[in-house]
């Protein structure tokens, strides 16, 4: 228990005991041995076991891969996760359902609002309530903008990993516009907890529609710009075509979803196949690939960005007026001005902010199509104001299992392209 001892010492400002210091030395030696490369002489050349990560720029966070190499060939690649484990699922059990809304964006910090959306829909199913139409449309607009912003980070870092620097700068230029919109509606650029069970935290601000319209006008040309930089670029094609290929059957067996599965040719997109929210009211296509390699995953995501813009355009056109949050004061707080005039509103306000909304007993799991694949919150309620168990099914966690299947037999340089094309977010993997 060296780690716990050290943590306790640190909290209480004590020095370590000699026994603890000895234990620490043993642990450090073991860790060093664990992380240093080892060399094993073989009959034809040697084998090297290399620890790639956790602080490697191309692992997109703190992913560690134990790679066994023979020359440049990868013989084994085992993902080792858990470096970012913060026990969010345990923290959920100590917060009430509304307070819990702040935690999902901490998990997938690139698809910020998508996590909160999945969480809110599970809570709404338990409560058996429906959002007002304005909230649903606003969620679609912000959700799809989030998908764009997440795909831009993927595109930028993917290109950066393979050596194309400028795409990263272009991608972040456009991402800024979306961050500005997120800031406009919620006041926060990164962890915008704007969705609440039963609707939104506040109404959409004035000027929102114009800001989204500017994105809609500018963006298609910008996507063409990225494609001009990459799609027919000979170096890009050389580095991505035929690399890390996987078949749809194998991907399904490994629980892989999202663009990775679609690039292998299976049109499995939950927005279309099992529509949630009001996605069945929109017209859009699901791009699929044919070969399932890194290049196809790139093409699928690029086309998805165009389809997202189509959805945003339709949602903005049809955005209705009305309430932004459900008119049920057992779940959503009453308007502030009512509190001074109505006793009942005051009681509801008091009960909601001291205890929280009580959720009927049961369990719910609502999967949504996040930029990385199927994401869903499995929530078990025991009838009180705090959840009994919250589990997040994260796409990145499952998708990491594809790394051995995609990279074994390939070159170690292609391993970098494979990781980037899976687009893992380690906050979501480790939770």
């Amino acid at each position: 228990m060296g780690l716990l001892n050290r943590a306790a010492n640190w909290v209480m400002g004590r020095d370590a005991t000699p026994a603890q210091r000895a234990e620490d030395r043993v642990q450090d030696a073991r860790l060093k041995q664990h992380l240093m490369p080892t060399w094993e002489e073989g009959e034809e050349g040697g084998r090297m076991t290399l620890s790639m990560g956790p602080q490697h720029p191309s692992t997109h966070g703190v992913l560690r891969l134990e790679v066994e190499l023979e020359g440049e060939r990868v013989l084994r690649a085992d993902p080792d996760v858990g470096y970012l484990h913060t026990g969010i699922e345990k923290t959920f059990e100590t917060l009430n359902y509304e307070q819990g809304c702040v935690l999902p964006p901490r998990m997938d910090y690139l698809a910020i609002e998508y996590c909160t959306w999945a969480y809110c829909m599970s809570v709404e199913r338990l409560l058996d309530i429906k959002c007002p139409p304005r909230a649903e449309y606003a969620r679609i607009i912000i959700g799809e903008l989030t998908r764009l912003s997440s795909h831009l980070v993927w595109l930028g870092t993917h290109a950066l990993d393979i050596g194309a620097m400028s795409v990263f700068l272009y991608g972040f230029r456009e991402r800024e516009m979306i961050s500005d919109i997120i800031e406009m509606v919620s006041g926060d650029r990164m962890h915008a907890h704007y969705f609440r069970p039963g609707g939104l935290a506040t109404d959409l601000p004035a000027g929102f529609e114009q800001a989204v319209q500017i994105v809609l006008d500018i963006f298609p040309g910008r996507i063409d710009e990225y494609e001009r930089l990459l799609t027919k670029n000979p170096i890009w094609m050389e580095r991505t075509q035929g690399v890390g290929a996987i078949t749809a059957e194998k991907a399904l067996a490994l629980s892989i979803t999202g663009p990775t599965l679609r690039s292998a040719g299976l049109p499995w997109d939950l927005r279309k196949t099992q529509p949630y929210s009001i996605y069945d009211a929109f017209e859009f296509d699901i791009p699929v690939g044919t070969r399932g390699d890194v290049y196809d995953r790139y093409l699928v995501r690029m086309e998805e960005m165009r389809q997202s813009l189509r959805i945003v355009e339709q949602a903005l056109r049809d955005l209705p007026g009305g309430r932004f949050r459900i008119d049920n004061h057992k779940v959503a707080p009453p308007p502030k001005e009512e509190i001074y005039l109505s006793m009942e509103a005051l009681i509801h306000h008091f009960k909601l902010w001291t205890e929280g909304a009580r959720v009927p007993p049961g369990e719910a799991y609502v999967p949504v199509e996040s930029p990385r694949g199927e994401m869903g919150y499995y929530i078990v309620s025991d009838g009180s104001a705090k959840p009994c168990r919250v589990h997040m099914r994260s796409a990145s966690f499952a998708n990491l299992q594809a790394i051995p299947a995609m990279s074994v037999g390939g070159l170690v340089a292609d391993l970098v392209a494979v990781i980037a094309s899976l687009d893992p977010v380690l906050g979501e993997v480790d939770r």
Binding site: A253, I256, T273, Q274, P361, G362, E363, Q401
Partner: protein
């Protein structure tokens, strides 16, 4: 046998006798196929759930994958009903990709010996999910190819998502309670 969450399910359980004049759902076919190995079936809030006997989990899962085409194992997780028996519920979320459909399978495990057969041989993708459940709940998956901790350090003691694993925090010290807190702290003996 059923936990208190199950007991509160408000609609009637579907039994093989009451087969209506329509195509059976996957849940009803499962109940017909396996009979008394299916302890409880319910469709609540639009989600089909079957509580099964943990001893025959492998037969049931294999049948669901091969006959019912639930080829995608979306998730394996667990939750802890501390103070009840069975204490641990292992929860599988399965997806049919050909005809979009979802099914939840639950298996209750006793507190003393939370052991269940691993489904990695059926869905290789369950590998990480089962390791996570083992790590955070201490449920043992038999015949798992690589059952070791995934989130916590390898030498961690205990399973953090169990309800009896404390959420540790430090009490805030003020001048009026400084001494009381200082004296009650569990200093290790030198």
């Amino acid at each position: 046998m059923a936990s208190r969450y199950e007991a509160l399910a408000d609609d009637e359980a579907t039994t093989p006798e009451a087969i209506p004049e329509r195509e059976l759902t996957a849940l009803e076919r499962l109940a017909v196929q396996f009979g008394d190995k299916i302890l409880l079936t319910s469709t609540r809030l639009g989600e089909a759930t079957a509580t099964v006997d943990p001893k025959s989990i492998l037969d049931i899962m294999l049948w669901l994958r091969d006959e019912e085409k639930f080829v995608l194992c979306s998730d394996v997780t667990a939750h802890d009903c501390h103070g009840e028996e069975p204490r641990f519920w292992v929860v599988y979320h399965l997806t049919n990709v050909e005809r979009p459909d979802r099914l939840r399978i639950k298996a209750g495990l006793p507190e003393k010996k939370p052991v269940i057969e691993s489904v990695v041989s059926i869905w290789p993708g369950a590998n990480f999910f089962e390791r996570e459940v083992y790590d955070l709940f201490g449920v043992i998956f038999q015949n798992h190819p690589n059952l070791k901790r995934i989130m916590m350090p390898q030498d961690w003691e205990g399973h953090p998502l169990r309800k009896d694993f404390p959420v540790v925090y430090e009490p805030v010290q003020f001048t009026h309670n400084f001494r009381a807190i200082q004296e009650s702290k569990p200093y290790a003996e030198e």
